[in-house]
Symmetry: C2
Subunit: 148 residues, 2 copies
Amino acid sequence: MAHDNIDLSTLTKNELLVFEALKESEGPMKAYDVLDVLKSHGVRAPMTVYRALEGLEEKGIVHKLDALNAFVLCSHDHPHQVQSFLVCSECGMVQEISPELREAPQVEDKILGVVRATGFQMREARLEMKGICQNCTSKQGAHSTAAE
Amino acid sequence: MAHDNIDLSTLTKNELLVFEALKESEGPMKAYDVLDVLKSHGVRAPMTVYRALEGLEEKGIVHKLDALNAFVLCSHDHPHQVQSFLVCSECGMVQEISPELREAPQVEDKILGVVRATGFQMREARLEMKGICQNCTSKQGAHSTAAE
DNA sequence: TATATCAATGTTATATCATAATCCAGTAAA
DNA sequence: TTTACTGGATTATGATATAACATTGATATA
């Protein structure tokens, strides 16, 4: 697990709590879901969670998936300029695939090149792909192909 | 303008109103901003706007920018599988760059290849890149380079 | 004509997501 | 001890989005 490499000593108390909650969850969590989990640790207000999430994002440990209003741990060691996620519309699964795309480095290079050519200074980018994951496809495929 | 090619006869009354509002705006609009504009046309409720936006999205005429909770007209003729947007953190400018990326088709092909290899059936994808646009860069650059 | 149906729209209420503003506690330096 | 700073707690509210149900109007058809 990539998360083992993170220096937890730089995290505040609440950041650590949120980090642990996300680590347990094995998937993206909504802020208010994190809040529910942390209520047993005395956290009461949304602000507390959002502040911690903001801190974790600044440290590159957490990403927000805007399409879901949800947050995930960054699943790779070296923060990348383009993060890529598969989001299953069926079961909600989220998979970060930046590592796979890194094996095709032309992709990021090309993107960065095109962007730079427009005079744009990119800070961060996310590619969020929505569709049906393999698991859901095989489950459904056996029964029908209609659905839509 | 690419929007001239759209067959407006397929739009419902409210979809047409929202379409016109977005066309005027020359940029992304929040749903409630659209609502404000359409109040002069008798539209009162958020639902009306959200329903029309949903219809326009299904017809491929509008995209939602999740990172901004905002909606833009699709600025090119042929809906593409990966839509790419530059979002300026400074001035809020949004530019769709799919046409530029199309000149580098390896990018989309590679992405689609990698994704397909994971067994994922992609429906739609958006690459949202945040940074500073050329305009803001040149304005700021003259005065300072610090800022962050 | 009556009536069934369907899509679009209207309306009300509420859920969900996020932040502003203010105050407080600990702690480290002057 | 003051001062300043960082993180945290609390309260309230803003912003975004949808649920649930009623209404309308067009079309089909018995």
